[in-house]
């Protein structure tokens, strides 16, 4: 709606914000250092609005906690827009100058009254009104979101809903405001920037654009396909259907990390060839035909791009173990073994230079220029200092287009057979497949095994107690986990992390994908809990 998926503003601006609207982000656990900036802002007097189905650390210090039913985000966001529109809190000058299609949103949100929203989301109507007024009337008001917004079958609508709020209040091109997706992994931004995408070459240039295609064909010396590729979720489905026959996977445990793990395994079983490149054995190994041992971040050079578009250096500190090699060296060798003349790059800096020369957004960035500070893109030439805040001069390239959205229920909701709604996420102490964090004493001491957060009334009804191991199942699979009776979840909802190979939460999750991005619905699926057979009574 107004450019590439990236934070419009910068992390250091957070401390000066007057209002933080944090939605679908458990920031203290998933982005602890950004959370520290938020804590600092709140300590300084900034208002904090948290929208999350769970009670999280930030909701404890929030002015308002909109504890919505999972998957009802569109209702909440449209109701917020409804209040802003009906109470005349919009920034008319901004809307007229910089946006189009606002009328469609006015029409779309007309029926999303706070009272009706309360029925669907469970958030009191007055609280919705208050949140809308606070957000609309504060100038330095920033939105911060992460996978709680995007990992839904309506993830794209959720993002549109947030962008509508930003545009109608003119919270763009203002320091400490804007729309800020916090990227989940160290180089999510950089992977997208570099063209690890089925539809974009490096620098967000479309593969179906003949001009871009010609440019990359000239640079790489081979004809290229003009057809859009498959995104990861579609690729996993195609694998299960037998349409994908060969797979190369670098640095991801797809069996543990992709939703509906059983389907992924089924696909891998019938694949003809699988190449893996990783630093540890993982759950996907049993399907591999070839495995390359790679260097970890401390053993190689390169760049990483963080959530606020900051290109920063990774520097080699130690040698890789045994015969392990940096991923970039392996990739070049593999290309050559397959008959493609990959250039003899002397170091990672030369690879970056090749990419930068093909990507106007990063054309001014080089290893030498990054130095100790990093550079935030866009950075079009070597004189440009980088861009901490987007849209500062004339907020938008062209016009920001409003998108009218409507609520669609999540793909799978609780029913009689599977009566509980499961959401999943990361914890502070572990990291994704946890091959790294489960090899360190602290995270293991804090969280040794998989658990499921359950509301006390649900626990009572099911006859299960805190610390007990139970069987959790969905239509796609089952596993055992330890019960944590927790005040953090809503009644009828349960929550699990996904870090534990022996109890893989993604056996349960739903791979139904977002209609645009294909991102799986990790945040909503239906499960049931059964107590395991009680152990035999110990002899008296």
């Amino acid at each position: 709606m107004f450019g590439a998926g990236a934070m419009t503003n910068s992390i250091p601006e957070i401390r000066d914000a007057d209002l933080l609207f944090v939605i679908g982000s458990n920031t203290t656990e998933a982005h602890p250092i950004i959370a520290m900036e938020m804590k600092r802002a709140v300590r300084r007097g900034a208002k904090l609005i948290v929208a999350d189905p769970r009670s999280i650390w930030l909701s404890e210090i929030a002015d308002l906690h909109l504890q919505l039913q999972p998957g009802t985000d569109v209702w909440l966001l449209n109701a917020l827009a409804h209040v802003i529109v009906t109470e005349g809190l919009t920034d008319q000058a901004f809307i007229e100058t910089h946006t189009e299609n606002f009328e469609a949103v006015i029409e779309a949100v007309a029926d999303y009254t706070p009272e009706k929203a309360e029925e669907v989301t469970g958030v009191p109507a007055d609280m919705i009104r208050q949140a809308a007024r606070m957000y609309a009337t504060t100038r330095k008001a920033g939105i911060y979101y992460t996978l709680g917004i995007t990992e839904h079958t309506h993830g794209t609508e959720n993002v549109y809903g947030l962008a509508n709020l930003v545009l109608m209040t003119g919270h763009l091109g203002v320091r400490s405001a804007g729309m800020n997706p916090l990227r989940g992994q160290n180089n999510v931004q950089g992977a997208n920037d570099a063209g690890a995408s089925p539809i974009y070459y490096p620098g967000y240039q479309r593969v179906d654009d003949p001009v871009s295609q010609a440019k990359f064909e000239a640079a790489w010396g081979v004809p290229l396909s003009p057809n859009d590729g498959m995104n990861l979720n579609v690729m996993m489905s195609a694998l299960a259907k037998g349409e994908i026959k060969g797979l190369f996977v670098m640095g991801e445990d797809i069996v543990l990390s992709e939703p509906n793990a059983e389907k992924v395994e089924r696909g891998l079983n019938q694949a003809e060839f699988l190449v893996l490149q990783d630093i540890f054995v993982n759950e996907t190994f049993r399907f591999a035909d070839v495995v390359f041992p790679a260097a970890c971040f401390a053993e190689k050079d390169g760049v990483i791009t963080n959530s606020d578009r900051r290109v920063q250096r990774v520097r080699k500190a130690v040698e890789p173990p045994g015969e392990a090699r940096p991923d970039w060296v392996i990739l070049c060798d593999l290309a050559r073994a397959a008959g493609y003349p990959m250039p003899n790059y002397a170091d990672a800096g030369e690879i970056y230079a090749e990419m930068a020369a093909l990507s106007p957004k990063f054309a001014g960035i080089s290893h030498d220029r990054i130095g100790e500070d990093g550079i935030q893109w866009p950075c079009p030439d070597s004189e440009h200092a980088g861009t901490p805040t987007l849209h500062m001069d004339g907020p938008i390239r062209g016009k920001g287009e409003f998108q009218a959205i409507h609520y669609r229920p999540s793909a799978e909701l609780p029913d009689e057979e599977y009566p509980l709604l499961l959401s999943t996420g990361r914890t502070l102490y572990h990291y994704n497949a946890a091959t790294q964090t489960r090899r360190d004493a602290g995270p293991v001491a804090k969280q040794p095994r998989n658990f499921i957060e359950v509301h006390r009334r649900d626990a009572k009804r099911l006859g299960i107690s805190h610390g007990e191991t139970v069987k959790v199942s969905s239509r796609r699979g089952e596993l055992t986990a330890e019960v944590w009776v927790s005040p953090r979840v809503r009644r009828g909802c349960v929550w699990m992390p996904f870090h534990f190979g022996e109890s893989p939460t993604n056996r349960l999750t739903n791979d139904a994908g977002d209609s645009v991005t294909g991102t799986g619905e990790y945040k909503v699926c239906a499960v049931r809990i059964r107590a395991l057979q009680p152990a035999a009574t110990p002899p008296a």
Binding site: P32, K39, G190, G229, I244, E272, L428
Partner: protein, 361 residues
């Protein structure tokens, strides 16, 4: 006369130099801008100033007593002196009292944080000449694997406690006891693992004496070999914290944050960034290429063999089913250059746009 507006600046004099300051600014900060260094112990730019260590006392015109520069607000027309025989006498005596209370370790470990008291004592000619203060402070072993506390080095500046309250905001630790016996503890004397502590290690980062210290490096490193530092970017979440990796004998022995104010993480790190580095040298790391043998098991192979097998396998799929029967999954855990190469591999070497990563946020 009405008070100046917050943004309105005014003039004051520090060590004879006229300078500008804004309403609400403290003398320490204004002097810092002029490049005037005032020694401090309890000050940390991330924390509210408390003025408890008395190290930064300066002369303020019109004030009979010395005043702490960290808490004293700059005012229009003020005349501040930061160096004088009187101030120097004060600093030396104060440091000698700190030395009596918390004598620095004579043979410090190469990875223990710099003891600020030793450094300042040397700079100001303070001697360890007073008998040890009475304090037998209470210390206790804590089962957590990362954070250690040596009560004998503690000067009760409370930087750790204030960091835990104000920055990490989990309030896991507190000052306990009174007088010379004041120490750092958890409420109810529970272990850190059972407290609200999130093991961020900020208490270690801010401690000026090394009383709060890391347990891991002390167990792993030698005292007689050099430690080098490499600045890099953390490999966990998308914040992009900068790290200083400490290397000894080819091994990562510690990970530290660059000083506060230098990088976007402002001296802060989380439990994963600061402590979860054992994986780097873990014995489970993959060390040789593997290929699936005729018996169905993965066996070790040479790079040459593994690369050949991989290329032939993928090209075979392409020949039999077309390029779009191949998929390439790149990684948002790897570098930008590596992601560039995976997509180039998919597109240029194998002819498909089926290239994505776990980066669908």
């Amino acid at each position: 006369m009405s008070a100046p507006l917050p943004d309105e600046s005014f003039t004051l004099t520090i060590n004879g130099q006229q300078t500008q300051a804004r309403q609400g600014e403290r003398v320490l900060g204004v002097a810092g801008r002029l490049g005037i260094e005032i020694p401090t112990l309890c000050e940390d730019s991330r924390l509210d100033p408390v003025g408890c260590c008395r190290m930064c006392l300066v002369e303020v015109g019109g004030q009979r007593r010395l005043q702490p520069a960290c808490t004293w607000r700059a005012e229009a027309g003020q005349d501040v002196t930061t160096e004088s025989p009187r101030i120097e006498r004060h600093r030396k005596l104060l440091l000698e009292m700190y030395l009596a209370d918390a004598p620095p370790v004579t043979d410090p470990h190469p990875l223990t944080p710099l003891n600020e008291i030793s450094r300042l004592a040397e700079a100001h000619g303070a001697l360890d000449r007073f008998p040890a203060a009475c304090s037998e402070r209470e210390g206790r072993e804590d089962a957590n694997p990362y954070i250690g506390f040596d009560p004998e080095l503690c000067i009760s500046c409370a930087r750790c406690v204030r960091y835990c309250d104000e920055v990490e905001a989990v309030s896991a630790i507190t000052l306990a006891g009174r007088g010379a016996g004041t120490t750092i503890a958890t409420a109810g004397q529970i272990g850190l693992l059972d407290s609200t502590c999130e093991l961020c290690g900020g208490c270690i980062d801010t401690c000026p004496t090394g009383a709060m210290h890391e347990k891991k490096p002390l167990a792993h490193t030698r005292t007689d070999s050099e430690v080098s530092t490499v600045r890099t970017t953390c490999n966990f979440c998308g914040v992009g914290c900068q790290l200083d990796i400490k290397v000894q004998d080819g091994r990562v022995v510690q990970i530290d944050s660059p000083p506060a104010g230098e990088t976007l993480n402002d001296g802060n790190l989380c439990v994963k960034g600061r402590f979860a580095y054992d994986f780097i040298h873990h014995e489970d790391r993959l060390k040789t290429p593997l290929v699936r043998g005729a018996d169905g098991n993965l066996r070790e192979a040479s790079w040459e063999e593994a690369l050949k097998r991989a290329a032939e396998g993928l090209l075979g799929v392409k020949e039999r089913h077309g390029a779009d029967a191949l998929g390439f999954v790149s990684s948002s855990r790897c570098t930008g250059e590596e992601n560039y190469l995976v997509q180039k591999l998919a597109r240029a070497a194998f002819g498909t746009n089926n290239c994505h990563s776990c980066a669908a946020t």
